[in-house]
């Protein structure tokens, strides 16, 4: 076998020769051992998205989630503080909250009846007198996740008490979160009701790649492009431009493994770029949204907010895609070849009923398990995973697209995908 076939990796899963080649071993997508290393090296030490402030409006509001493989209660306690509690009874382990969401006065364990306050403190223990003198209820509350911090209402947890601060961790990704939040006149966005929660029979890292891979648009999403074309949207690249898409976008490294695409929009945006799909009657309203942006942010910043699409990956497993609409999705491994995706729509709190309806309609033209594009992404990722069954024979993925370019990486290059893999390799392979 030549080097191209065996990766020349000396046992490494990510191999780079500067300006020349970049290869990722398919073992990284099929191996249970690699998945366990990811749990230790990534999910136990990185900041992992848990939820958005808008999901917990009132004291007692809670959501139960899987975060980094643990059951977590994301809750606003009765005093108003947001908490991330580990959903496991301190007695003998049962989850103490089994509902998806709601408003609670406390959490009662179904097994022996220990009861906890919404801040996690232990309230009651049936038959408490049977416990020995050293048993201290004050020490037996629900464990909080080691760290919980937020940036512009996006809450993240970290299971490593010594982790760097969230804002440091987010590095330049903060600017791209700001661009999303700037849609709202008050700087307040909200998660819109309705959850899309579905599995893909593929390794979770394939969705990281897919979320920012603009190379696949033409082949994977030709039926969506047809739909846009049928609706009067120009989806043709300018003649002689050498581009695959109508506009020249970029892939960017935001530090710490975070990355984004940054593309001049052609596909319409509820903020604030009209396309024919929205209907004539929406034109004046969208012009008004844009006027507000310009008045508040100035022409240049307003244009950044309104006229660019950005699919942002916060390492390792959060995607905020600000495209046809805004979607927030996180995903996590259920096995090396299996992931769960949980996705929501995000919108400015001050949106009118008509604006909200337009945003949701625009969302469904592209995103989600019933959208015109996402199901084909799922099909592609599942086909990829099936192909990896032959990882022993065909061992390496080629991610060298654009690597010899000296200028900025295009969104249809793979430079931004390499950003993810370099960070992944640093964490997972550092001590391998």
């Amino acid at each position: 076998m030549n080097e191209r076939h065996n990766g020349g990796g000396n046992g490494r899963l990510v191999v780079e020769v500067p300006k020349t080649r970049f290869a990722v071993s398919r073992e990284a997508f099929v191996s249970g051992a690699v998945m366990r290393r990811e749990q230790d090296a990534i999910f136990d030490h990185c900041w992992i998205y848990v939820g958005h402030a808008s999901e917990l409006r009132n004291p007692g509001d809670f959501k139960t989630r899987q975060v980094a493989g643990r059951p977590v209660i994301f809750v606003r306690d009765r005093q108003g503080s947001v908490r991330a509690l580990i959903n496991s009874c301190r007695h003998r382990g049962a989850t103490v909250c089994r509902e998806r969401e709601g408003n609670a006065r406390g959490f009662n364990c179904l097994y022996h009846g220990w009861s906890y306050n919404t801040d996690g403190s232990l309230r009651g223990v049936p038959g408490e007198d049977a416990y020995p003198p050293g048993f201290d209820k004050a020490d037996m509350g629900l464990r909080a996740v080691a760290r919980l911090e937020h940036y512009r209402d996006f809450y993240f947890v970290n299971f490593d008490a010594r982790a760097e601060a969230l804002e440091t961790y987010l590095a330049d990704a903060k600017d791209y979160i700001d661009l999303v939040v700037d849609q709202s006149p008050s700087g307040r966005m909200e998660i819109i009701s309705g959850t899309q929660e579905y599995d893909i029979r593929a390794n979770w890292k394939l969705l990281v790649e897919n979320s920012v891979d603009d190379y696949h648009l033409l082949a994977t999403h030709s039926t969506w492009l047809n739909y846009m074309r049928n609706s009067g949207v120009n989806v043709t690249p300018p003649k002689g431009s050498g581009l695959l898409l109508p506009t020249k976008g970029q892939g960017r490294d935001l530090g710490n493994g975070h990355l984004t695409t940054d593309n001049p929009n052609f596909r319409g945006r509820p903020v604030a770029k009209w396309i024919s799909v929205y209907g004539e009657e929406a034109k004046a309203d969208i012009a008004a949204i844009r006027a507000e942006l310009v008045a508040r942010l100035g022409e240049a910043r307003a244009s950044r907010v309104a006229d660019t699409n950005r699919n942002l990956v916060i390492f390792p497993n959060l995607v905020i895609a600000d495209g046809s609409s805004v979607t927030v999705r996180h995903f996590y491994p259920l096995g090396p070849d299996h992931m769960r995706v949980v996705a929501w729509a995000l919108g400015p709190v001050e949106e009118t009923e008509a604006q909200r309806a337009r945003r949701l309609h625009a969302f469904l033209t592209f995103y989600g398990p019933g959208g015109f594009a996402t199901p084909d992404d799922v099909a592609a990722l599942e086909a990829v995973q099936q192909g990896y069954a032959a990882w022993r024979e065909v061992g390496w993925n080629d991610l060298s697209r654009g690597i010899a370019r000296n200028d900025d990486q295009l969104n249809s290059d793979e430079g931004h995908l390499r950003v993810f893999w370099r960070r992944w390799s640093e964490l997972v392979e550092a001590h391998a």
Binding site: R100, E101, I192, S193, G194, T195, Q196, E197, Y198, D199, I200, R201, T220, S222, T223, W224, N226, Y227, N230, S231, R340, W344, A345, E353, R356, A357, L360, H361, F363, L364, T365, G368, P369, G370, F372, T374, P375, D376, V378, A379, A380, A383
Partner: protein
């Protein structure tokens, strides 16, 4: 009673059953253009999110919320071999039951039915979609048309069902 309301009130359960059975047969045979013909000119096709089955698509993110314009585009897409999620097309088999007329509002008949839709793809275990159709039907040109379909899934989340990439 107004004439349209009287006409709607005269529709029998057997007529509604026939409509749903014919529809299920068309969808199982991927006769999607014929299926579109069973819908009203202003039809709406909804698959609410599993966690908010009764919500309004104008304020809640749905799995599918098509007006007739997008529904026609969906059918164009589903017939295209580049609709990768449904290529080759899934084999499906629908069982419709518990059909009931639940109300009459002017010219509109409200009718509910339970469904079990089995979807088969090569080398994967069957996907079983179970739930209830809530429908609004109307007479147009002597024919009963579907003007609103809400396909409510009983599953707590889509989970292993994956995508709703076909007509449910």
């Amino acid at each position: 009673m107004s004439a349209p309301r009287a006409a709607a009130a005269a529709v029998s359960r057997a007529q509604v059953e026939d409509l749903f059975y014919r529809e299920a047969d068309l969808l199982d045979r991927w006769q999607l253009d014929e299926w579109l013909g069973m819908l009203g000119e202003d039809a709406v096709y909804l698959v609410p999110p599993n966690d908010k089955p009764d919500a309004d698509p104008r304020s809640t993110l749905f799995t599918i919320a098509d007006d007739i314009v997008r529904l026609r585009e969906r059918v164009i897409r589903l017939k295209d071999p580049n609709c990768h999620a449904e290529f080759p097309p899934s084999r499906t088999r629908r069982v419709i039951g518990n059909v009931r007329i639940t109300g009459v509002e002017d010219a509109t008949i409200c009718a509910a039915a339970n469904f079990i839709v089995y979807r088969f793809r090569r080398d994967t275990s069957p996907y079983v979609f179970v739930g209830q159709y809530r429908n609004r039907l109307r007479r147009a040109g002597g024919e009963l048309k579907i003007v609103e379909r809400r396909a409510i899934l009983d599953a707590e989340e889509l989970g292993a069902l994956g995508s709703v990439s076909f007509i449910l």
